[in-house]
């Protein structure tokens, strides 16, 4: 049984340009013409066995985030099937679910609840989460006084203490300082040793080649190449080089 499987998944978004008022609805209904749609992912298929780590490479707007959001269950595909087996933990955006006016400790509890921890689990893991985040002295300060790196530490710390079987991470790892990045990497490696599944989307090719066995390269919503991480990364870099040389 795969931990995560995409089967010919297509996802499009309506072009609505903020037109969500009643008159737009009526106009649409009178014309009977559906809105134009933008295809963010087109026929994407891949499979991730339990314990495997997959990197997703691609330029901005290639569909990486859409892919992760679909895997998290936030959005639904237009067609195709997504199979997920296990508890998903996702870190999709720095500060998602955090509020600047709440203190670090309050944000910690809120995010633990959002990520599915019960009251008892939150109380039991509170110390561990604080310890790992390294922001103990600022726990009673509002989050808006935190640096981006400190916020990231707290978010990552809550996430890794929610026992996910499948960890989905989008882009955010690079935010912390050197020391914390190493701590994150160490934690991810520990997850890998524990047999957890990881899906990592990033521009950082180094991160992908050092952490993932396999990778897929997305370009404008399609899988251009899939295979061993180092060869996909190399092809992506080469592809970029040609694109750059033709552009100039």
């Amino acid at each position: 049984m795969p931990a995560l499987r995409f089967d010919d998944v297509t996802k499009s978004f309506p072009h609505h340009a903020g037109r969500m008022l009643l008159r737009d609805r009526i106009r649409e209904w009178m014309r009977g013409a559906p809105r134009q749609r933008f295809e963010a992912l087109k026929d994407v298929s891949f499979e991730l066995a339990p314990g495997e780590s997959l990197g997703v490479i691609g330029a901005n707007g290639a569909g990486k985030s859409t892919l992760l959001n679909l895997a998290t269950g936030l959005a639904r595909p237009d067609s195709g099937r997504i199979e997920v087996n296990g508890r998903v933990g996702a870190l999709l955006e720095l500060g998602a679910g955090f509020h600047p006016d709440l203190t670090g400790a309050e944000n910690l509890r809120l995010n633990a609840a959002l990520n599915g921890l019960s009251r008892r689990e939150t109380a039991a893991r509170f110390e561990e989460i604080v310890e790992f985040s390294g922001v103990r002295e600022f726990l009673d300060e509002p989050l808006r006084t935190y640096s981006a790196g400190m916020g990231m530490r707290l978010a990552f710390s809550v996430l890794v203490h929610t026992d996910p079987d499948i960890l989905l991470i989008d882009e955010v790892i690079g935010v912390g300082d050197q020391e914390f990045s190493l701590k994150c990497l160490e934690k991810i490696r520990q997850f890998q040793r524990e047999g957890k599944t990881i899906l990592l989307a990033t521009h950082g090719l180094e991160l992908i080649t050092s952490l993932c066995q396999r990778a897929i390269w997305l370009d404008r919503g399609r899988v251009v190449q899939a295979g061993p991480a180092h060869s996909v990364a190399a092809a992506y870099q080469a592809g970029h080089a040609t694109a750059m040389s033709t552009a100039f």
Partner: protein
């Protein structure tokens, strides 16, 4: 959508606490603001309708007005914040895998913090008028629970529709404005001409106002028809609102 394995009660509690903290941390007077609004309104309405127009029931008129204001305030505030809650919770709904149903419910329940403060004010004023606690007070938690369920249902429906038709919040705003006059806040139910009674009969906000006055001022249990009216309103609103929300929520992601 995939099942979210978590503790919904713990989550709602945290969301309510969040709203409460954000709202009050930025106010120097804190919860006094919750008391100030109904007190000022009570004073103004008492002056206008008790003194200027002259009202026969003026002995307990301030309490009479407050029994109307508190349900109306809760209804309009909770429905307003509930309606916009899904749009305003975009950061949550689009980025964290939580059941979106908790968002409007938590928004309505956040208003219950105000409500408790205002209800305490009503009870304090009741005692001040030498109307001691009576067994019929036990009806208050029952009726208010039904009313909160009723508002949650409305908020679920309105918040889901508001995602696709953003004018919904303005419709709700105007509706609340009209409702202020169509709920017997500063006048008595008995002065309404019989041919207009139907306007009030199926209005759960008016029903709660009448029940509050029955219980606190006239010191007897609410009429059976009021309880039935409110129970039916709560059930219909919860079922209908829940169904609308469930139907629309798979498409929220694409539209918020």
């Amino acid at each position: 959508m995939r099942k979210w394995r978590g503790d919904p009660l713990f989550l709602i509690q945290n969301l309510v606490l969040k709203d409460f903290r954000i709202r009050y941390r930025n106010m120097s007077l804190g919860i006094l603001w919750s008391l100030l609004n109904p007190l000022v309104m009570m004073a103004v309405l008492t002056f206008i309708f008790g003194r200027v127009f002259g009202n026969p029931k003026s002995a307990t008129f301030p309490l009479f007005v407050l029994c109307g204001l508190v349900p109306f305030n809760f209804f309009s505030g909770a429905l307003q914040s509930g309606t916009t809650s899904v749009i305003e919770g975009a950061g949550l709904i689009k980025r964290v895998s939580v059941p979106s149903t908790v968002v409007p419910i938590a928004s309505v329940l956040s208003n219950c913090v105000h409500l408790l403060i205002q209800l305490a004010l009503v009870l304090a004023l009741t005692l001040l008028y030498h109307l001691p606690p009576a067994p019929s007070w036990l009806w208050l938690p029952v009726l208010w629970s039904l009313f909160i369920v009723f508002v949650c249902g409305l908020a679920l429906g309105a918040s889901a529709i508001n995602v696709f038709i953003r004018d919904t919040r303005y419709v709700v705003e105007s509706f609340n404005l009209v409702l202020f006059w169509l709920v017997p806040i500063f006048y008595s139910f008995t002065i309404i001409p019989p041919k207009y009674v139907v306007l009030y009969r199926f209005n759960p906000v008016a029903a709660l106002v009448l029940a509050m006055r029955d219980i606190l001022i006239d010191r007897h249990p609410p009429a059976g028809s009021i309880v039935v009216n409110m129970a039916i309103a709560a059930a219909v609103s919860a079922i209908l609102g829940g169904a609308i929300f469930a139907r629309l929520k798979p498409r929220f992601y694409d539209y918020i």
